[in-house]
Symmetry: C2
Amino acid sequence: MKGELFILSSPAGGGKTTIASLLIKEIPKLKRVITCTTRKPRPGEKDGVDYYFLSVDEFERRIRENRFLEYAVVHGNYYGTPKDEVEEELSKGYDLLLVIDVQGMRQIKKARPETVTIFLLPPSLDELVRRMEHRGDPPEEIEKRLQTAKKEIPAWREYDYTVINDILERAKEDVKYIILSNRLKTERFNPEKIKDNSLRELMGI
Amino acid sequence: MKGELFILSSPAGGGKTTIASLLIKEIPKLKRVITCTTRKPRPGEKDGVDYYFLSVDEFERRIRENRFLEYAVVHGNYYGTPKDEVEEELSKGYDLLLVIDVQGMRQIKKARPETVTIFLLPPSLDELVRRMEHRGDPPEEIEKRLQTAKKEIPAWREYDYTVINDILERAKEDVKYIILSNRLKTERFNPEKIKDNSLRELMGI
């Protein structure tokens, strides 16, 4: 049984990274897609864990080799989703959680319409700024990210699901419901779950 | 914001009534649709709670008045879903849980394709019989219901979701995820949830 790809987007400070990390720990058979970037690591970020940190040369080589599901330039840095890794994990039956921006979502949704897309909304713009300040983003970055947020938020209607991240635990549970309910879709039913032969026969599996 | 109609089906002894009762208590703004029947109440069943118990004359009068969303004859008794009540509660914003059989599901899904349908599977046929015995169904009824189950189970593929009722608590949670995640769909987003005016403006709500 193939897994599904879930896209989680939110403005900077919207909580997408935190929620993704919590869910990966909590939900079995869910993996995060590690994306590639040419931006410098922030303090504490690790290569192969937070991102694959690539040089501009290496990134551009992979673009030419058509090895990205989507890629874009944001604030002067490349960001991209590695194609082979995603297809491989999905075919192994893993669900995948991909944290990307609106541009990335649009490219992937076009190529894979079955992708489930989730937009995380902050309760207010003030709260968004407060969270960026709290995590120590430099003031000039905050202003830049707030402007990006203002461009991205109007895209919320293009997403399949909209979750308000007011209380973190609540928002995390909401995203969890979306992922777990998707596994219960009849087209994703795993015949191995039924051991009883007379029932299997009736079900035609 | 309009609510959604959820259909829960399973063979007799599959656990649909138990799970429905638990979810009604647990999930806010979820109501059970009380259906009408002409069969006699079982011990403990109450009119207006478990079913509306109607006489054959009254049921047939309502059929003529087109007051059922669907109706059918099962084991010589009428069963039907009252139309006005469903539409009224949905438009008030309640989600509705309707416990009906495969025939009923088909009629309603045809009339309302957006209806979310869930099939509860027993882990095995033996377990199904065991549960009917446990709740005290008379042996001749058990045999009749088992034959019906064998006709109904092959219809599992027509449902949107398939949930295995092996462990009751687990199956109940699964159905809960389906109902709660549906509320997070962007087309069901409730603008009243956002109080911040600058955010409302950006969202276009």
